[in-house]
């Protein structure tokens, strides 16, 4: 059996667990705990080790999706998770501009660990106060060639689109070699 993995990363509460849950064929093996920090208590639980989802491609190939822990104190997990990944998705909560700087830091860190292809998703586009993706591109200082995809992690088509765009980028990278 061959296995490949993709990493889903992003700031705290950006929707990583939901993203994986939406397309995983197994219940996400979530390692969630109640939040202890007051400043991060905008939701009840958070991922403390990693989320883990699976998509069986055929008898011979399985794609694993790993979600990184959202809280800053688990940063040490990132390097381990990024090893051997096919590419990564950076989730950004479009309605919380206060997390954009953190999203940029995470993106830069992952690019340094492994310069593999990646896409950035402007998640929670269904919320009323979500920023427009093109405004987010400026705020996140993303170059024009970086794929910034509008996304709603609860919507399967939206998640599929993000994964497909990442796979197209991987294919393009291979063809340019």
């Amino acid at each position: 059996m061959q296995t490949v993995k993709m990493v889903v990363t992003g700031p705290f509460s950006s929707g990583k667990t939901q993203f994986i849950q939406t397309v995983s064929e197994i219940d996400v093996v979530a390692t969630e705990r109640k939040i202890s920090s007051e400043s991060e208590r905008i939701k009840e639980t958070t991922t403390v080790a990693m989320d883990f989802g699976r998509i069986t491609v055929d008898d011979d190939l399985v794609l694993y999706l790993f979600g990184t822990p959202g809280q800053k104190r688990f940063d040490f997990m990132w390097e381990i998770l990024s090893e051997g990944m096919l590419g990564f998705v950076v989730m950004v909560d479009s309605s919380r501009p206060e997390t954009f700087r953190e999203a940029r830091r995470i993106l830069e860190t992952f690019r340094a660990y492994a310069p593999t292809p990646y896409v950035v998703t402007a998640n929670k586009q269904d919320l009323e106060d979500a920023w427009e993706p093109e405004d987010m591109r400026i705020a996140l200082r993303l170059a024009p060639e970086v794929k910034l995809l509008p996304c709603t992690a609860t919507d399967k088509e939206s998640v599929k689109n993000a994964l497909l765009e990442l796979l197209y980028s991987i294919l393009e990278r291979m063809e340019s070699e």
């Binding site: 491609v57 055929d58 830091r105 593999t116 599929k160 796979l167 197209y168 294919l171």
Partner: protein
């Protein structure tokens, strides 16, 4: 009991707070990995400060605060190099080069800036020598520490933010291709103009900071404001190769097999 230790364990703001509350008189010597500083206090107030990386003579201080020209500074260095600061100050006032207020405000800025710099030191062996005062020929002041502690802590927070925004000074800067913007119409300070004049894809930010002799905090602050104003953008310096893009790790070898594997993934995701 000697007051000594490492800034790693006892921060500079904690030290200043202690000196202020205990109204100590003496000199704090700090030896960091790259530079050293010496700060004197009189009854809990800052009286003198010097940094090992800078010429701390009065003429150099007045040159840095632009109260003396390069030429005037050179003349003083050649003809009055052996004169103490107090005597030199009197000579400069009497010959109408500078006023007393200009000397005092320049020294105050210099001492406060030296103290502020210490807030960013993460490491440094310190030692407080009780009752050790600056040399007799030096001009001492009395500056309250409360504002320095508040301002230093604020700058430290801002520095952390600036380091997040500009994590590496190895990159270069270029003017943005924004046809509506003419930098000549923008109000810039002298220091900002100095930075702007060196912006070129060939110069790394580190080189510009060194050439303009701006400290890390000030340089990052200027660059950050120019970026925020949309006047410049960060680019890779000319001649520096970008990191080689990595082909993702795949469990099969051979280009065709790898493409086939990715295509199988694409087909599967589409079918979800």
């Amino acid at each position: 009991m000697a007051l000594k230790g490492n800034l790693r364990d006892f921060s500079f703001s904690q030290l200043l707070n202690l000196i202020s509350l205990a109204k100590k008189t003496g000199t704090l010597q700090v030896h960091g990995p790259e530079k050293a500083a010496s700060i004197s206090f009189d009854a809990g107030k800052l009286s003198y400060a010097q940094n090992s990386k800078k010429d701390h003579g009065l003429a150099a201080v007045l040159l840095r605060s632009e109260k003396l020209t390069d030429k005037q500074y050179q003349v003083i260095k050649e003809k009055a190099n052996n004169i103490g600061d107090k005597e030199l100050g009197l000579m400069l006032i009497n010959s109408n080069y500078v006023t007393q207020d200009e000397i005092l405000s320049s020294l105050k800025n210099e001492f406060v800036s030296t103290a502020n710099d210490l807030f960013s030191w993460e490491e440094g062996i310190f030692h407080f020598e009780n009752n050790l005062k600056p040399a007799a020929d030096k001009i001492s002041l009395l500056i309250s520490l409360e504002n320095i502690i508040i301002e230093g802590s604020r700058q430290l927070q801002e520095m952390e933010r600036l380091q997040d925004e500009l994590p590496s000074l190895d990159m270069a800067l270029k003017f943005t291709d924004n046809p509506g913007t003419n930098i000549r119409n923008v109000n810039l300070s002298v220091k900002e103009w100095r930075v702007v004049s060196f912006i070129n894809p060939k110069n790394s930010m580190k080189q510009i900071a060194k050439t303009t002799k701006l400290d890390d905090y000030e340089f990052r602050r200027i660059v950050y404001s120019l970026i925020q104003a949309g006047l410049v953008e960060i680019i890779r310096p000319e001649g520096v190769a970008p990191p080689t893009p990595k082909v993702p790790t795949l469990p099969v070898e051979g280009a065709d097999e790898q493409k086939s594997l990715v295509n199988r993934l694409i087909t599967r995701i589409r079918s979800l």
